[in-house]
Structure formats: structure tokens, C-alpha cells
Symmetry: C2
Subunit: 343 residues, 2 copies
């Protein structure tokens, strides 16, 4: 097996090195052939590595970077003024071919802007998109875009369908993933003109197009890939986060009501813990920035070790499956097909 | 107290008279001064009323209508060919002033189209919207639009803010409801031009404007009113429905795993039932069609008795609080204010 080399923006996220280095150690234990480059402030990273007994592990090295992109920094400012940030340098390493992927828990806007600037968009793809895995009754769904593109043309949505399909093949191992287009009714007469036109485009492609899906299909797992614009995708994802927090709040309160319910809580604890584990968003942490000439995975800013580790796993799967190259050939053959249809 | 007279589309919804008549009986028991007109096929309605021992109750009467709008009927078709449907006749009764509100569990599109056609939109309001109550950690939120308007101008969104605010005052009794505009980030630089412009319009109005909110603010209950376009509102609502179903599915499965977990389920049952009751969407059933010259409340098609009864309650609160009149004066004073600002 060829080695897989991933750069970690070791300073990014709410917790910085304490999480990224711990996750690095876990990932090296779990993923065969993995090598890591920790990008960031050399000294604290060396201390952290030493703590985990990996000071002399030749599968991990530190690459110094003197700056850090703040979580609320404007993408344009980060791009201009943070050329030696851990985020920027990690992406530069991808560009230079010194690593095959990078993972960052930093500021999403800055990560997308810097990745686009440094790595450039794959020829034929108009706009990169953010895609993540969501759990559901009948299985996982890859959903995109989650916020990179607020307004999308039908052509953008068709490209997202293609990229999401490649990701579902790569990360989930699904041969011919079914693709649904998010709409407010499953009947073909519903929806805006733009969504209807996107539906037509996707149905004419070689993708396994299911048709329109609705919001409740996301957590049903009706299809393998759900496509929508970044505004709707982001609101939908955050709505789910909010509802999960609310349900959790109600559950905790009800179990704390009196000594009887506290006793019930003790009995139900193993089951509830198992439910929490199953629903734990950390298991699904790691959103792929698709459509770039390189692999970039975004971890949630508040990710803990196991959660950040999952983002590393996703980057590793994308390397194994050569996701950018597959997207590139998929868009090429799509363009040929569209070209043929026109001539 | 003046009597409140509400027409029920007694044939609408998945269950028809078995639910609507049972709910009618419950509502008359619970809401003082309530009178009901059951609109639909006279004979089965009479039988159903008799079953509930209300054959001779002078607070309820049957108004015959010979047709029923199908759940999947196109709004234009319903409007043209179902002039004697229970839905249409119930709305006609509002128009004629013979009742003060109507409640229907029928086809949403047909209900909105027919209501707009018969009752007309309030002067100054460009488009009616659908608004519902959602529960949250810090209290209830009125959210609109939920699907009547797929694409909205900033002016539409500002009108929704005003209408939602009136509804929160009326249904929740909140004096000066806080209003949030749904966006993909709370920073003022984020979002589409249209959302930014809407934000400016609402902030210039006399409403208690909170600013941008995100998807997770919905079930946090961050604000009393959340405004968005019908596409985003519908997807968000259905995402929540799907996630709730998924969580329920995981919970049930985990509790059924083995005899130990089944035992835990028995212990936890009272608490879980109480949680289910708290989260039960039936408690919040009843979406208001706002911006019409008359009160129309839409019940979920699959509503059961207690759920349909809740929709009747909302209609009753809207009558007490004269919602259409209040929206009308609010938009008038808003127009004056805008006019002043211009001159």
C-alpha cells in the first residue's frame, strides 16, 4: 500500500493542538500506511507530540507556520494577511504535492476561499461545494452544498449531483449512488424554475437520478446523495442541530424531574448512551470541500479528538479513492455527453 | 362574550368526519362561546354528530357541500371544478361573514389558492404566508413562510415579519415579539443581497428586530418570530420532521435490543411518554394563513382528534384577537412610516 500523507492544520478549531495532535496519534494507530504533517507553531506542537510519546515517530513530522487564522476572520483578510498561517501552509503543501490531503477545523469561509485560491477549481466545475455525511433510517446520505454557494444555477446543482455521487462511491463504497434533488414537494410540478431545470439536467446525465426529495427524506436516508443550494443546505443542517439539542434538553429535564424519574434514568442509561452514540454528530464529523484540485476536509470547529480523527479518516478515504481525479473524469465525460446532445 | 363561529371543512384531511366531528365536540366542550358549522356531506356528518350525542346541540350545525377536494388535486383544478367542495364552501362562509374563521385539514395548495381567490389579500400585503408555532428550549417561535411563496422579495419578507409579529402577539400573548431573519450566519456581512436588504427593511420598521438568526435558533427559541422564504421554511420544517422520526426509530430499536433493554424501556416508559407528549407535533398543529381578509387555519392532513382540535383553538384565538384587522392596521401604519421616510 502506498503511504497516505495528510497535512493537519494543527492550530485550527476551538481546541487547537490538544485535540489535533491527540487525533493525529489515534489516526496513526488506526489507519495503516498513514503519515501526518502537523502544521503550526513548532514548539507547542513538539511538546504535545512528546506528551503522546510520538516525539520520535517518523510517521509524523512538524511543519512550522507562524500564524493562525481566527475563527471569525474574514476570508479575504485571511487570504491576504495570513500567508504563513497553519491553514494556508497546510493547503500549500497539498498544492506542492508534498501531502495528498489536508484537514482543518478552522474558519470555514477562510478554508474555502484559501483552498479555491491555492488549489483552484477542477476544470469543468464552476464552483466547489461542501458535502457531509448524515445518518438516517435507511442509511447514510451525502448532502451538499452546505454553505459555500448561497445562490446556485441549475448547472451548479447538476455539478453538485455529480460530485456528491463520486463522494458516495468513495466514502460509502456505493456503486451507483441514487441522487435526489431537494424540493418542497415530490411532484414534478412543484418548485422554482431553477430547481425544475436542475432536475431536467440531472435526469439527462448518467447519474442514478431518483427525482425530487423533501426535507424529511434527509434523515430517512431515502437516497445516497441529496443536492441543494448552500443556503438551504446550511439552514437544514443547523435546523437539525437545533432540534437535536432541544430533544436532548427535554429528555434531560424529564429524567431530572423527581427521584422516580432519576431512578428511571439510571435504568435507561445504557440504552440512552447507546442512542447518543448512534446519533453523535462527531461520528459524522468531516465535511469534504469538493471540486478542488486537491483533497481538503473541514472538521467542525468544536471537534474533540475522536471527532477530528473521523475527519482524518474521510481524508484518507478520499486519497484511496482519488476523489479529485474521479470528479475530474466524471465532469469530463458529462461535458462530452452534453456536447453530444447539443451536436 | 361574543360568540365565535368557526366553519370546519369537515370532509378534509386523511380521516374526514371521524376526526373533524370528534374534534368539533371536544372544542365545544373546551372553548367557551364557540359555535361550529360543519361543512360537508350532510348525511354522514349527521350520523357522526349523533354518535357524539350532539345531534340536537344548537351550537353546531351542518352546512351541506356536495364535493371534496382531493389531497393531491391541483389548486387550479380545485378552484375551477370544486365550487361546492367542503373546503370552498367553508371559505365562502367566511367571505359572507356567516362565520369568523375556517379550519381545514385539506390540500394546502388548494386551501391557499381558494382562500386568496375568495377572501383576497389584505390591502398593502403582497402575498399571504403560512405560519406555524414551533416549540423550543426558550419558548415558542412563530415561523413563516412555510411553503406558500417559493421565492420572496425583501419586501415580502418584511411583510412576513409584520404578520408573524401580529400572530405572536395574538396566539402567544407577547407584547412586543422579537423577530429574527433566517440566514446562514449571524454576522451582518453574510447572506444573499436579498436577505441583507430584507434585514435593512425590517430594522427600519417599528418591529422588535433581533437581526439574523440561524437554523439552530429555531428550536432554541431565540426569538418569537422567524422569517424566511417558503422554500427554506418548508425544507427546514420537514428536515425537523425527518430527524424526529429518525431519533424515534433509533430509540425504539435500542430499547428492543434484548430483555435487559426491554426492562429498561419499562422503567423509562413514563418519562419517555412525557417527553413524547412534550415534543408531540400534534400539540402545535394548526398553521395560520396570514395576510388574507379572513381567518383560515390549516390543520395537518393526518391530524387526529386532539390535533385538529388544536387547529380550532388557534382559529378561536385569532378571532378573539382580530388578527386580520390587526395585520391590516399594522401594514397601514408601516406604509405611512415608509411614506414618511421617503418624503
Amino acid at each position: 500500500m502506498e503511504p497516505k500523507i495528510i497535512a493537519l492544520d494543527a492550530m485550527g478549531g476551538d481546541h487547537g493542538p490538544s485535540v489535533t495532535v491527540a487525533a493525529a496519534r489515534l489516526a496513526m494507530d488506526e489507519i495503516p500506511g498513514l503519515e501526518l504533517v502537523l502544521v503550526g507553531d513548532r514548539e507547542p506542537l513538539a511538546v504535545e507530540l512528546e506528551k503522546h510519546g510520538r516525539g520520535n515517530d517518523n510517521r509524523v513530522q512538524i511543519h512550522h507556520a507562524s500564524q493562525v487564522v481566527d475563527m471569525d476572520e474574514l476570508p479575504a483578510v485571511a487570504l491576504k494577511k495570513k500567508k504563513d498561517s497553519s491553514m494556508r501552509v497546510a493547503i500549500d503543501l497539498v498544492k506542492e504535492g508534498r501531502v495528498q490531503a489536508c484537514v482543518s477545523a478552522g474558519n470555514t469561509g477562510a478554508l474555502m476561499a484559501t483552498s479555491k485560491f491555492v488549489l483552484k477549481t477542477i476544470q469543468g466545475i464552476s464552483r466547489p461545494a461542501i458535502c457531509t455525511t448524515l445518518p438516517g433510517i435507511n442509511g447514510h446520505t451525502q448532502m451538499l452544498d452546505l454553505g459555500a454557494n448561497l445562490e446556485c444555477t441549475p448547472e451548479n446543482l447538476a455539478e453538485f449531483a455529480l460530485m456528491g455521487s463520486v463522494l458516495a462511491q468513495s466514502v460509502e463504497g456505493i456503486k451507483d449512488p441514487s441522487v435526489g434533488l431537494l424540493n418542497i414537494g415530490s411532484e414534478s410540478v412543484k418548485g422554482s424554475e431553477s430547481v425544475k431545470r436542475a432536475s431536467q439536467l440531472i435526469s439527462e446525465s448518467r447519474l442514478n437520478y431518483y427525482g425530487f426529495v423533501e426535507g424529511d427524506d434527509i434523515y430517512k436516508g431515502t437516497v445516497n446523495v441529496i443536492v441543494t443550494d448552500g443556503f438551504v443546505g446550511n439552514v437544514s443542517l443547523k435546523t437539525a442541530e437545533g432540534l437535536a439539542a432541544f430533544i436532548n434538553h427535554v429528555l434531560s429535564n424529564e429524567f431530572k424531574r423527581n427521584w422516580l424519574t432519576r431512578l428511571a434514568a439510571v435504568c435507561a442509561l445504557p440504552v440512552l448512551s447507546s442512542v447518543r452514540r448512534k446519533l453523535d454528530p462527531r461520528r459524522y464529523n468531516g465535511a469534504s470541500l469538493l471540486g478542488l484540485n486537491g483533497i481538503v476536509v473541514k472538521s467542525h470547529g468544536s471537534a474533540d479528538t475522536s471527532s477530528f480523527m473521523n475527519a482524518i479518516k474521510i481524508a484518507s478515504l478520499e486519497i484511496e479513492n482519488k476523489v479529485p481525479q474521479r470528479i475530474s473524469s466524471a465532469i469530463e465525460s458529462y461535458m462530452e455527453q452534453v456536447g453530444e446532445a447539443v451536436t
